[in-house]
């Protein structure tokens, strides 16, 4: 081994250090330490002449280690590492001693401070003796991007990236993109039609040369890390020849088998072969294999669609033998925009959802007012009458510790929107039961004011129950909504023909699966966790994976779109740089000492270590792009095979030993 030659530089920092530490004495003391060949003190080490001292000494004295005792390393460690590098020394052969924030500024006795500074310098010298040069590694970034989820968030993110002429794979598990937004009728507070603003974007996605749309598909497996993810996508069988189908819909018309439509929230039926809605992208039919009698009877019954398909897109072969395809993709970053589920209000027994016909959820009501919806845009009761009185209940499943504690953010506004639509479509009285009105966005408060002008009855109180047990004649045959009007301090019963529940938005039922697929973390409320709630809201703790829209928590369309654009910017900036710098101070396995016990694999939050079989011996291997150097694996390693570069035991133990030495 080359002889270790250490240079020590003690900074005065003007009087910041020199005022309460005898820097000359510290420097003199440092010169007496083993392997120290030069020791100096200087007024401002961080200045250019200060840094030049180090660079010159590297040449003159052949220094191969350097220590600067000055301010906090959080301030200037990088400065001096760079100085070393410019002087021809590996930046990791440098160590910093903090004699300002941790010494001169916090104690007043000059003698004691000087002794403490000596201790800190001695420890740094001892530590740096054991430093090793580390390589700064870079890895290339694959310019393709995967977007998961084809709702408004995924659509927006995909378009932004594709418009930058980078390839996007957009994976959507339903037969068509559009998400929940395409189910909505109008959007608050502007009341523009959701379909009208969304379908052009959907069409753009459909024919964009840089977007490969994988609808009716699901991500099965993700491996690798930032810059080089490998993804397996299952493209589910539609049981038709996608290249031939023209989406004419004749098969759907002829198909005799029906179930309640998911898209219409059960308010209408769909066929066994179907296009979920008129503007679906891609415009292809999909066969529901569980419902299709031809498939269920193994080709013995029905087959109407085959007969009527002029394009020959449906054949016995496609119906019976078509299987799912696995598509393998390579991408550099991933945007997760998997959206939300609507809270199921049937778990709140007192609201009677599922028990009374005319108790509806928000999404059901959206379909009802939609001109293309099951009632042709009319607000109707189950028996076909028009309601004379409608009650809208806020905070159903949200702001309630029995269900979800969080505020669902959009319900106040969509509740107001319903009130407006009811006023527009019917002559009904509208009662809006709220706890607090939260109308925070652009034009939202104005919308609230407008609704007040329209004569909506606002009642402040949480509804206790919806019942059909009438007390008076007027109540008979209607639903009665019971609550305290907390402003009057009086219990009230409101007879209503229709009750609309502003159901909360909740995390997708399979959020745990998605989270483990993309190594995301979930908050207590089930939504995905951002890296920093304020300063890094669309990044996640997993580098290269970003989140947008309601999978991160309830939010409205403007916020969702803004977030989607933010994720696109993140992905594009990664592509634009083209490479990533890997952390150097990361874990490293000494394979001969490794038992392959997997403790490291178990403890690692970032999935960096993995036990593999090498020549029949089980050993752990570190994925260097995943490792963040937190060092938890080294603590649990039973043999000491796991080492964190730059934080090796001999480095820290020598520092500790030097600090505890009594002078």
């Amino acid at each position: 081994m080359e002889e270790v030659k250490i240079g020590v530089y003690v900074c005065h920092c003007g009087l910041n250090i020199a005022g309460t530490v005898d820097v000359e004495e510290v420097a003199k003391y440092a010169a007496t330490l083993p392997s120290v060949v030069v020791s100096r003190d200087y007024r401002y080490m961080c200045s250019d002449p200060g840094q030049d001292l180090i660079k010159n000494d590297i040449k003159e004295y052949g220094l191969n280690r350097a220590v600067v005792a000055s301010c906090s390393p959080r301030m200037h460690e990088l400065t001096f590492r760079n100085a070393c590098q410019e002087g021809g020394l590996n930046p990791y052969l440098y160590e910093h001693a903090n004699i300002r924030e941790h010494c001169s500024w916090v104690h007043d006795d000059k003698k004691i401070n000087t002794e403490k500074a000596k201790d800190l310098v001695r420890a740094a010298v001892r530590r740096v003796y054991h430093h090793e040069p580390l390589e700064v590694k870079e890895a290339p970034v694959n310019p393709n991007v995967l977007v998961v989820g084809g709702g408004i968030a995924g659509i927006q993110a995909a378009l932004d990236i594709a418009n930058g002429e980078k390839r996007v794979y957009l994976v959507e598990r339903e037969p068509s993109i559009g998400g929940h937004m395409i189910q909505l009728d109008r959007t608050f507070p502007t009341l523009d039609c959701s379909e009208c603003i969304l379908t052009p974007k959907m069409a753009d996605v459909g024919h964009h040369p840089f977007i490969e749309l994988l609808a009716y598909s699901e991500v099965e497996e993700v491996s690798g890390s930032i810059g080089q993810f490998k993804v397996k996508v299952r493209k589910k069988a539609r049981h038709i020849d996608e290249s031939k189908c023209v989406g004419c819909g004749i098969c759907e018309e002829k198909c005799p088998w029906k179930v309640p439509s998911e898209f219409e929230m059960g308010l209408a039926m769909r066929k066994a072969i179907y296009i979920p809605f008129a503007q679906a992208i891609p415009n292809l039919v999909t066969v529901d294999p569980d419902l299709c009698v031809y498939i269920q009877s193994n080709g013995k019954k029905c087959g109407a669609c085959i007969k009527f398909c002029e394009a020959k897109a449906i054949t016995p072969e496609t119906l019976l033998n078509q299987t799912d395809q696995i598509i393998e993709l390579e991408v550099g970053s991933i945007i997760v925009a998997t959206g939300y589920d609507q809270f199921d209000p049937s778990v709140i027994p007192q609201y009677g959802y599922g028990k009374y016909d005319n108790v509806l959820t928000g999404l059901q009501f959206e379909r009802m007012t939609c001109a293309a919806g099951p009632t042709g845009g009319k607000v109707l009761l189950k028996d076909g009458r028009e309601p004379e009185s409608v009650t809208i209940i806020h905070c159903v499943g949200s702001r309630d510790q029995n269900y979800h504690e969080y505020c669902s953010r959009v319900c106040c506004m969509y509740g107001l929107k319903y009130a407006h639509l009811i006023k527009e479509f019917t002559k009904a009285d509208v009662y809006e039961f709220y706890i607090d009105m939260r109308c925070f966005g652009e034009g939202y408060e104005e919308f609230y004011k407008r609704l007040s002008e329209e004569g909506v009855n606002f009642i402040r109180g949480k509804v206790a129950k919806v019942t059909d047990q009438a007390v008076t004649e007027e109540e008979k045959g209607r639903l009665i909504v019971v609550a305290e009007d907390t402003l009057l301090g009086r219990l009230i019963r409101v007879p209503a023909d229709m009750v609309i529940l502003c159901a909360a938005l909740e995390a997708r039922a399979d959020a745990d699966k998605v989270a483990s697929l993309f190594t995301l973390n979930r908050r207590a409320d089930g939504f995905f966790l951002e890296r920093h709630v304020k300063l890094d809201p669309v990044a996640t703790p997993t580098d290269g994976v970003f989140i947008a829209g309601c999978c991160e928590g309830p939010r409205d369309i403007p916020d969702t779109v803004a977030q989607a654009e933010a994720t696109a910017a993140k992905a594009l900036s990664l592509i634009s740089k083209g490479k990533i710098t890997l952390e150097s101070a990361i874990a490293n396995v000494d394979e001969t000492r490794c038992l392959g016990c997997g403790r490291c694999e178990e403890i690692c939050t970032f999935h960096a270590p993995k036990v593999i079989s090498k020549n029949g011996v089980m050993v752990s291997e570190i994925n260097e792009t995943l490792c963040k150097g937190c060092g938890a694996c080294a603590v649990v390693c039973p043999t000491g095979a796991m080492l964190i570069r730059h934080y090796k035991p001999e480095q820290i133990l020598n520092q500790v030993a030097a600090l505890t030495e009594v002078l």
Binding site: P349, Q350, C395, R399, D400, Q401, N402, I435, D436, R460, G461, K462, V463, A464, K465, Q469, V482, A483, E484, D485, T486, G489, R490, L491
Partner: protein, 393 residues
Amino acid sequence: MPILESAVYVEMEVLSPYKEATEVMIEAGGEPLRLCYQCGICTATCPWNLVRGFIVRRIIHEAQLGATDFGSEEVWLCATCRACVQRCPRGVEIIDVMRAARRAVVSLGIGIVPDALRISAKNIAGAGNPLGEAPEKRGDWAKDLGVKKFSPGTEILYFPCCVPAYDPDVKKVSQATATILSKLGVDFGILGSEERCCGEAIRKAGYEDTFHSLAQSNINAFSSNDVKTVVVSSPHCYHTFKNEYPELGGEFQVIHITQYLAQLIDQGRLKFSKEINKRVIYSDPCYLGRHNGIYDEPRKVLQSIPGVELIEFPDSREDSLCCGGGGGRIWMETVKGERFSDIRVEQALEKGADIIAVACPYCFLNYRDSVLTMDKAEVIEVKDVSELVAEAM
């Protein structure tokens, strides 16, 4: 809090001058009280609003602001049925707030304790039972049944508590229970004169000290006799033994008689030989159901009695209507027209029930009184589940 102080100043006459008492109350209600966001679901859930106005939400808000009116009758209304707590979106333990208000009145003398309650409380403190009966006669109900005194080594302690021990009518419940247990050869005993009121209701009525001394006395009696398992007839005993005694150092297994009977049926030990061909409607006691989540076992017992047709109230299980007897209300006067039990009896009649099956002595007393005052004794009976079981054996 300058804003609040100025509010106090401006509206001095309506705000309570008993600041200390308010603090006591907030303390006993704990932090959840402060969590209330005034949605009013408690008010709209509270059964009192079926018969009169009782704005629970306002009481909570008054407590939050230190403006409770301790002189009001409202302090004494809550039957602690837990319907509101069950629905509260913020987890406010409203019953604790009510209890704390009463405690403030009782201990600080800043309001008026209803006469009937004061007498019962005095009796409990003195004689260990609200009826003022002689403590040494507490075991008399079992005189002719050959029930042994509990001694260390006995498997099960049967704890009837006050009403089933003394009330000439409700005695039937404890006697039926003892009969069943004896017939099945269960190794059980009673504490007799060593037993005291469990103290659950008197605690809810604000008599915290009385509760502590009763509980301590029972815990001492239990531990000196090496009691491990207690079977109770009253859900109120069940609740306090299970949820309140452990804090005072009383840890033992508590089983409600309906649970125990269901267990015996499961084990094949309890078999029936007679049919009861009646329509039986079961009323969930608040302290068995909402307070402790026991809904299925009593129904199971009733369903296994041959001939019984079990029917349900329009509001049952979690939504079951209270009889009005919890929280010390059993010792207070409820004017006619405001009795929940009357509504309950009407509901039962509407459903065509022959028997209202109860599993709580307070329910028993209230329904019995309602049936009598409504003059319906000919049409409908009130019976405890254990009575029905004893009959069918």
